[in-house]
Amino acid sequence: MAIRVIEDKCNGCGLCVKSCPQAAITVEDKLAIINLDLCNYCGSCVSACRLRAIAIEIEKQAKEDLGRYKGIWVFGEQFQGKIAAVVLELIGIGRRLADGRGSELAVVVLGDKLDKAASELAEYPVDKVYVYEAPELARYDGERYSRVLSDVVRELKPEILLAGATTTGRSFMSRVAVQVYSGLTADCTGLAIGKDDGLLYQTRPAYGGNVMATILCPYTRPQMATVRHKVFPVSPKRNSGAKAQIVRLNPKPQLFSSRSEILEFIEQCEATVNIVEADVIVSGGRGIQDPANFALLEELAKALGGAVGASRAAVDAGWIPYCHQVGQTGKTVCPKLYIACGISGAVQHQAGMASSETIIAINKDPDAPIFQIADFGLVGDCLEIVPLLTKKIRAMRGEV
């Protein structure tokens, strides 16, 4: 492994110097010099150089015949037989990738009593639904699930494996990636098949959304990615009425051992829906002033069929539980509509919501940073505006 400056190409412009997060590059006599004690091979300078004068060379090759890996798989995350919303989004993008690659698309489901879930999945444009059923798999267990999926991946050799970037998906796929020794890219917002190389180009935000990076997994299989909610549209069902083939696989009982036992499940966010899956989020910050005022946001969210979010300030003040927090230390959301009420919009908050389709901000302070990214800004008191808005929407529907 080596990084080097190609001397005849470098003109000492210094773009690489600015790009380097490690401050490892200097320019001397119109030539970039990389301090190898500081460089961590992140590749920022390679992207930044317009003259292609910096190269990272890796002597690496695949340890097995990658051509034996075929097909695209989607992990069919389910909870008590209910398919997670993100799975239908993954089927949509998965279908597109499979068509581009000329390969099959399959969903793999692990659980117990999956008849209904499997036949529902078969109505979508997938070629196969692999079903792994056992009472031991009824609830997600990291050890069991990853052992079972790693085993089937080794046996059936999919080329690509996608999962939702849910709490389950993110930790589950990390385990599988280590077990099968392949690459995993977290929280992708863009996926495409390379025209020339047929590889999966995985694009994801980093540094709190300030930077985008495209990542490849060239030498190992499967190429694995977790995908954010709401980035890709939900796949329509097949219109022909035809159904995908359901393939039942027999899990090996010796894979079921686990050192973890689930004692209890406590539902908390049931009153409002899961915010990462919501199309509309009405979010409140310091300007809400009092925990009781969150009821105003809840009513608006209800009228719009959405969920309630919050800024860190509101959560830290104890006004609303942490599972509602949007931002760097909370959740990243991408709804169709985000209404920020009394949220100043610090960069940490923006990191969690700036990719929403439409942003409406309501704030008393006309200079609040939230207005710099809001498509529509209302300068005013959200405590006055929100209830009026709810009332008007209800009146329009003849509900009052």
Binding site: K18, Q22, S47, R170, A213, T329, K336, I393
Partner: protein, 265 residues
């Protein structure tokens, strides 16, 4: 009980900006800090230690970080916040590691320390992957509990942890040794004590290289990383749009019109 905490030194990422004109990262004046989620992990480890010590049991917290030599600073800070000692994994051969190689490297070092409990933050704010904690558990063949919001009980053999899920919580009981990743909700980290600061100042932080932890050359650094970054670029820029002022009732009228137009009502 031996407790280890994994610490990552990260840039204050919200200040890292991408300059679309020059296609470069602007990092001027961006300082380094301990990854915020790791502060919760550290705090929880120290609380567990203090509880055990109150019960007359021995307990020790060791902070471990993989990074460049300057990551020593983050480890000193960890000691000021209650860790007893720290180890820095630093070797040119570790550079360019993705989450696979990072979790392998940390696991090699942790295996040498033989901890009963390993705490990690749920993710780091620069990479945002959350993949290293579960990866460590697999590499070490330890039990795991990701996204822990509360420790319900702990004895020599098991730990009961309340885990944060999308729509609620799950309480699970896990055998020790185990790897826990923690969410923000778990505690409120303390500020450094005077004694902690003194300890941090005089602490000797050993540096372990690949050879010290028996890490295989083809599993560390860029060489051991299955993924490769091929392009870094600026996200689409978002501009502020119209700003409306006026009486609340007027604003609401306009907003209802907009919501109708966008087909939300």
């Amino acid at each position: 009980m031996r407790i280890c905490v994994c610490i990552k030194q990260v840039p204050a990422t919200t200040e890292v900006k991408f300059d679309p004109e020059t296609n470069t990262l602007i990092r001027e004046g961006v300082e380094s800090q301990i990854n915020p989620f790791d502060l919760y992990a550290l705090e929880e480890a120290v609380r567990v230690k203090e509880r055990l010590q109150e019960q007359g049991e021995e307990a020790r917290v060791t902070a471990v970080s993989m990074g460049p030599p300057q990551a020593e600073q983050a480890l000193r800070e960890a000691i000021s916040l209650g860790a007893d000692d720290a180890i820095l994994l630093s070797d040119p051969a570790f550079r360019g590691a993705d989450t696979w190689a990072t979790s392998y490297t940390l696991a090699r070092a942790l295996t040498k320390l033989e901890p009963d409990l390993v705490f990690c933050g749920m993710q780091a704010i620069d990479g945002d992957t959350g993949q290293v904690g579960p990866g460590i558990a697999v590499h070490m063949d330890y039990a795991q509990a990701p996204y822990v919001a509360k420790i319900e009980s702990l004895d020599k053999r098991r730990i009961a942890a309340k885990r944060l899920l999308e729509t609620g919580y799950e309480v699970c009981s896990v055998c020790l040794p185990a790897v826990l990743t923690v969410v923000k909700e778990i505690n409120e980290p303390r500020t450094p004590s005077l004694r902690g600061k003194m300890n941090a100042k005089k602490a000797v932080i050993p540096i372990w290289k690949a050879v010290d932890i028996g890490a295989l050359e083809d599993k560390i650094g860029l060489q051991g990383s299955p993924t490769q970054v091929v392009k870094v670029f600026s996200p689409p820029h978002r501009e502020g749009g119209e700003k409306w002022t006026g009486e609340p009732i007027e604003l609401v009228g306009k907003l209802v019109g907009l919501l109708k137009e966008l087909e939300f009502t």
